[in-house]
């Protein structure tokens, strides 16, 4: 049994002490694992295909975009399936993680109003479940790499752990804020969905960044703005880390051949995410005492 601790509760919203709270979350990591497992299990219960659905999903997307970008809007991206998947997978993690986190407090209302536990675990569990899904989808991507005869490992791969870490940090930073707002204003969820739609097309996923950043693309201001999108930087790093190893022509579609360009940008996105997190976590923590009441 843990050491006896004394807890004092008053009306003052508690002050967030990030490291103390982090330790508390760590102590409750089993809840996190169980909530994430629940989410995954529930999704595939009573389905014939089960977990295969999480792999089928990007495949179906792939078919749609492949048909569109081969027959309707032909483009000249070599190894298009690999290009698409290396951007689409992190995007899917982002969008499903963020929209899941946004509604996590509402859908966990049954727990919030009945049991005392650190509420951060709800959005975190969703993000964790989506990360597991991301892992399954990565298997599909690896399958394609092998099928097309491309190397799995090349220099760019070292970007991937950093890119994933920064992406998760960014999702959690935004998710804490949207989850909090969504408790009081249910429109937040709808707004997030709309924002995600616009965000998808402002990120080089189905088209190459070169189109936008090249001489025929946006002006210099537009280019700067385009590259300010944190997701663009994350997705580009994923593309550099996966697609960048497939061919010289492929590499030319990316903004820079070297790794440093991506690394710095990832660090910048990470720093911005930490800044957002500092605010959004505080917001979440202060309001979480009222979640039970507002649900």
């Amino acid at each position: 049994m843990s050491a006896t601790e004394t807890v004092v509760r008053t009306n003052d919203p508690p002050r967030l002490r990030p490291f103390k709270r982090l330790a508390e979350l760590w102590r409750n990591r089993e809840i996190l694992g169980n909530l994430a497992r629940k989410e995954l299990r529930v999704r595939y219960k009573s389905t014939v295909l089960g977990v295969a659905w999480s792999m089928l999903n990007p495949l179906l997307y792939l078919v749609v975009f492949y048909v569109v970008f081969t027959f309707f809007l032909p483009n000249a991206i070599p190894d298009f399936p690999i290009y698409l998947l290396s951007g689409l997978l992190p995007w899917t993690l982002f969008s499903s993680g963020l929209s899941g986190a946004t509604t996590s407090i509402l859908s966990g209302g049954n727990l919030v109003t009945k049991v005392a536990f650190p509420h951060e675990l709800l959005p975190l569990a969703t993000v964790r479940a989506q990360t597991v899904n991301f892992g399954f989808q990565l298997i599909v991507l690896v399958g394609f790499l092998i099928a097309f005869g491309h190397p799995l490992f090349h220099r760019g791969v070292i970007l991937l752990p950093l890119a994933l870490g920064v992406l998760l940090l960014f999702i959690v930073a935004l998710g804490f804020a949207t989850a909090t707002w969504n408790v009081r204003y249910r429109d937040t969820g709808h707004l997030v969905e709309l924002a995600l739609l616009m965000w998808f097309w402002s990120t080089p996923i189905v088209y190459p960044a070169a189109t936008v950043l090249g001489p025929d693309g946006l002006g210099s201001l537009g280019r700067t703005l385009y590259l300010l999108n944190p997701l663009t930087n994350v997705v580009l790093a994923f593309q550099r880390g996966i697609y960048g190893g497939t061919s010289e022509e492929g590499l030319d579609l990316l903004p820079a051949p070297g790794l440093r360009w991506y690394g710095f940008r990832l660090l910048a996105v990470g720093a911005v995410s930490l800044g957002i997190l500092a605010l959004s976590w505080r917001l979440f923590y202060r309001r979480s005492g009222d979640f039970a009441e507002e649900l």
Binding site: V7, V8, R9, E30, L35, R41, N110, K114, Y185, G289
Partner: protein, 392 residues
Amino acid sequence: MDGQRAIAVEDVSKRFRLYHERPSSLKERVLRFRRPRAEEFWALRDVGFEVPPGKTWGLVGPNGSGKTTLLKIIGGILRPTHGTVTTRGRIAALLELGAGFHPELTGRENVYLNASILGLSKQETDRYFDDIVAFAEIEDFIDNQVKFYSSGMFVRLGFAVAVHVDPEILLIDEVLAVGDEGFQKKCLDRVGEMQKEGRTIVFVTHAMAFVQQICDSATLLDSGRMRASGDTEQVIREFRAVMARRRTGLTEEAATREVEIADVDLLDGKGRPNSMVAPGQSLSVQIELHANRPVDDPIVVVGIHNVRDEWVFTSDTERLEVKLGRLEGKLRVTFDLKAIPLLEGQYFLTIGVRDRANEVVYDWHNRQYPFDVIRNVKGGLVIPVDVRTERL
């Protein structure tokens, strides 16, 4: 904080805002330009008491008196609007059995999920798993999805998980009111064990029998305010008084008061005032009537409701073929309920007086007289014992 108390509730008040038109969308919020009108509602007002470690504290009061709100504040689910709650030690709050059970998951999966949320580690859950399943009596169904469980199975599994959590402070919200008689007894036994292990327990209940049997002290809440606190006997007396003041029901409003029910006493088999009876024993209901105006052939009705507001019994002097004749002045009517065939629990007596044609209600006390059917928790049926000594 000194070692003298496990829970300290100091001047706690809780305000809820009830929004008439809750602005749950941004559009409304923007269009209104100002905060919406909110009606304030104080669920708790200046409540304070201290629970020493290892003691069992009862929280009693009528529905809507703030018991659950207080329990949620102690458990850290709600924040007090004023005042302070200090707790010492790991808390498990049983506000609802099986809270967080997911219907799509199997019993086994839910046990692990629920146990971790209540604070058990994976290893601890592994260790207790067989006990939990055995306690819930659902060995054959543990790998079925919970959505196929009967409500009884669901509740049993929820309780089984909860009582295997290892808290220093246990908060229980009327969960013992569920389940069949046998399971209730098992739960009470388990609560008794936890008391022996020195855990601090706060216990919300309607059943005065439980307060008397298992609580060391108690607090009575009524409309969010403390009416009594401390000694259980005093709290029970006050509770009965509060319940008696709450006269509700349509029938009562229609009462003409030509005859009034002046006094009602519950007596046990020995003629002593007692509102607790063991299953199978007898209970006498002594009713004193005052006629403000002479009436002919009134009928006295007696009925019993259980806690779920279901009629379980009704009878009257007409059915029992007793004629009261012309009633003037005072009259005492006594119903001897020879053997109470009821399960353990709390029940409410309704007493009424009406005319023979069933057109006029003279007086009607709806569910105003609570009584408890109890067994001795530890030893099964209460056996009436007489002691005789013979000098040899």
